[in-house]
């Protein structure tokens, strides 16, 4: 037994108050960590996924929508563009690479994207197992897709029309898994990737069924893609190319960095507000902690005076109060962290499009430091009566 265990006994002897303190503090910690994690995930999404894409070309509409749909795969596309025209603008000498992507189907909520091999390289994706798509109707899976749906190489799947999970509009063609990617923490983790032909095949069939007798003659002119992800040779391209596309064609060119930065600016007000509320709750929880400790010091004045007659120094009593505060705050931190984990698990389970990343250790450390500072302040205020304590007077007032 030592000062620690006396502190623990003190805490145990007032369970309701302790629970309240821990609960309020953990709530604010969970909120703070949560907003921080959301913010980091958001920043990470922008940085990682936009990284190599200078411009997205797609059908006219909202540029933000085009970027969200084609880069982060979070929104519906603005429409399709002709593959022929896309190939034509790809020949522009300013362009280093132009990757066509085509999507509009899903498997259990995961998007199926038809594209070229370059697409995977764009996200530094590497194969964990299997091989790249060589023939139509072959797919490779992003790491999260494979894990969450528990799919292996050789498994087959039926795609469904649209971007939301449904079983009504299922296509008839079986897609076969030929490869699984390593985790990248980027958007391809939650995509099913195939080649352009697979997408075209599936949809041509569909139109055949729908319009019996009107069999489409397959030719290049008919083919469509959703958008084109473009990387320029030099930054000069960004200045001139989009304007030309926007003014002279029926397509639009959107700058993902610019669009997402704008979005980030808007949403950061929300983040800031939530953070502010969380900080406010943290301050309140510190006040609760202070009141709890101060009450303990005041109510237990006689106990503390007795400890002094036992030979305890003021410093030891202060240590006791500090330990008590520390135990409460440390458990709050753990509980807050746990609450957050459970919360995110819950959100992730309901959402295939999960974009969360683990919070960097540095952020945890920073928040931990902040909380430690607040404990020190609360405790410093609470120990004032100990420093001013007149043992003799307290003992005399016993009668």
């Amino acid at each position: 037994m030592n000062i620690w265990s006396i502190s623990i006994q003190n805490i145990k002897s007032k369970p309701l108050y302790t629970f309240l303190s821990v609960f309020i503090a953990s709530l604010s910690i969970a909120l703070l960590l949560g907003t921080q994690q959301l913010k980091r995930s958001f920043e990470n999404q922008i940085q990682n996924n936009v990284g190599k894409i200078d411009v997205v070309v797609g059908a006219k509409g909202s540029p933000l929508q085009l970027v969200l749909a084609s880069v982060l795969h979070l929104d519906n596309p603005t429409g399709n563009i002709s593959y022929k025209k896309a190939l034509k603008i790809s020949k522009n000498p300013l362009i280093k690479s132009a990757i066509p992507i085509s999507y509009g189907d899903n498997y259990k909520g995961y998007r199926i994207v038809g594209t070229t091999h370059e697409y995977i390289a764009l996200y530094d994706g590497e194969l964990k197992k299997g091989h790249l798509v060589e023939n139509a109707m072959e797919v490779i899976l992003g790491n999260s897709v494979a894990q969450k749906l528990n799919l292996k190489i050789g498994d087959t799947l039926l795609s469904a029309h649209g971007l939301i999970e449904n079983s009504i509009e299922e296509h008839d063609e079986l897609l076969t898994v030929v490869g699984i990617l390593k985790p990248t923490k980027k958007v391809i983790d939650r995509l099913i990737i195939t080649n352009l032909e697979s997408i075209w095949n599936v949809h041509n069939h569909k139109s055949e069924e729908n319009h019996e007798g009107h069999k489409h003659q397959e030719n290049h002119d008919d083919k469509e893609v959703t958008s084109l992800l473009i990387k320029f040779k030099s930054p000069r391209g960004v200045l001139t190319f989009p304007r030309r596309i926007n003014e002279r064609t029926y397509m639009q060119a959107a700058l993902p960095k610019y669009e997402l930065y704008k979005l980030y600016e808007y949403t950061s007000i929300g983040f800031k507000t939530i953070s502010l509320i969380a900080y406010l709750i943290l301050v309140i929880s510190c006040i609760t902690l202070f009141i709890s400790l101060y009450k303990m010091v005041k109510e237990r004045a006689f106990d503390l005076a007795i400890l002094r007659t036992y030979g305890a120094s003021n410093f030891q009593l202060i240590k006791m109060v500090f330990y008590e505060g520390f135990i409460v705050v440390f458990s709050s931190f753990l509980l807050g962290f746990l609450l957050l984990k459970i919360g995110f698990r819950f959100v992730e389970a309901n959402d295939q499009q999960n974009i969360f990343i683990a919070l960097p250790f540095q952020d945890l450390l920073q928040l931990g430091f902040l909380i430690l500072m607040m404990v020190i302040i609360s405790v410093s205020c609470a120990i004032y009566p100990i420093i001013k304590m007149d043992v003799s007077k307290i003992l005399s007032n016993e009668k």
């Binding site: 006396i6 237990r300 007795i306 002094r308 007659t309 030979g311 120094s313 003992l395 005399s396 009668k399």
Partner: protein
């Protein structure tokens, strides 16, 4: 061994000055200090315990001058050499009976010896209440726990502040006998201050303030 010389104490400037008769006790000698309320009995006891600093005069316990000790040293000295018995409240509420005794030993830098705690508890008839909360004890049991707490660390001096005033005649006698026995066993000086004349006959030495 205890010796006081020309002790005086003043709570605030301009208020009455308490002055106390000189006390000299050899080893194992006991003393009863009688006096009406408000005469400064508790003040004297707290001076002897080093909880108050005298305005003038000196206190020697085992040749240590309490005035010469700085606050931390005084805390340590008090913890190691003095056992205090109070009137009603004796122990720390959040700890059970056994842990109170343990805490007492820890803060007085004594060896924490569970067996010794058991022995003292047995001597004072508290063995069965070992794991009880302090708030569950009766007044008589609390008083006995107070005695246990004041002797567990083998102090040089046991100072008791009105230990019997809330007890009936039977328990009053028992408590005084227990205090005297424990003091004898640990070779400690016992000083009891009280306004309770029932216990006058139990002591050879007594002074009246």
């Amino acid at each position: 061994m205890i010796q006081t010389e020309n002790l005086t104490y003043q709570y605030k400037k301009g208020t009455a000055i308490f002055s106390f008769p000189n006390i000299t006790l050899e080893k194992r000698e006991n003393l009863l200090i009688l006096g009406a309320s408000g005469i400064g009995k508790t003040t004297l006891l707290h001076l002897l315990a080093g909880l108050l600093k005298p305005a003038k005069g000196n206190i020697f316990i085992d040749n240590t001058d309490l005035n010469a000790l700085k606050s931390n040293k005084l805390d340590t000295f008090r913890g190691e050499n003095i056992g205090l018995v109070f009137q009603k409240k004796h122990a720390i509420q959040s700890l059970n009976v056994f842990d109170n005794l343990k805490a007492r030993l820890i803060f007085s830098n004594a060896l924490v010896n569970d067996k010794k705690i058991e022995i003292v508890l047995a001597q004072l008839g508290l063995s069965e209440l070992k794991t009880s909360k302090v708030s569950e004890l009766s007044e008589g049991q609390l008083q006995r726990l107070g005695i246990a707490l004041s002797v567990i660390h083998n102090p040089q001096v046991i100072l008791a502040d009105e230990p019997t005033s809330s007890l009936d005649d039977k328990n009053c006698k028992i408590v005084i006998e227990l205090l005297q026995n424990q003091a004898k066993q640990t070779n400690a000086n016992l000083i009891v201050i009280t306004h309770d004349h029932r216990i006058k006959s139990c002591f050879q030495n007594s002074i009246t303030l």
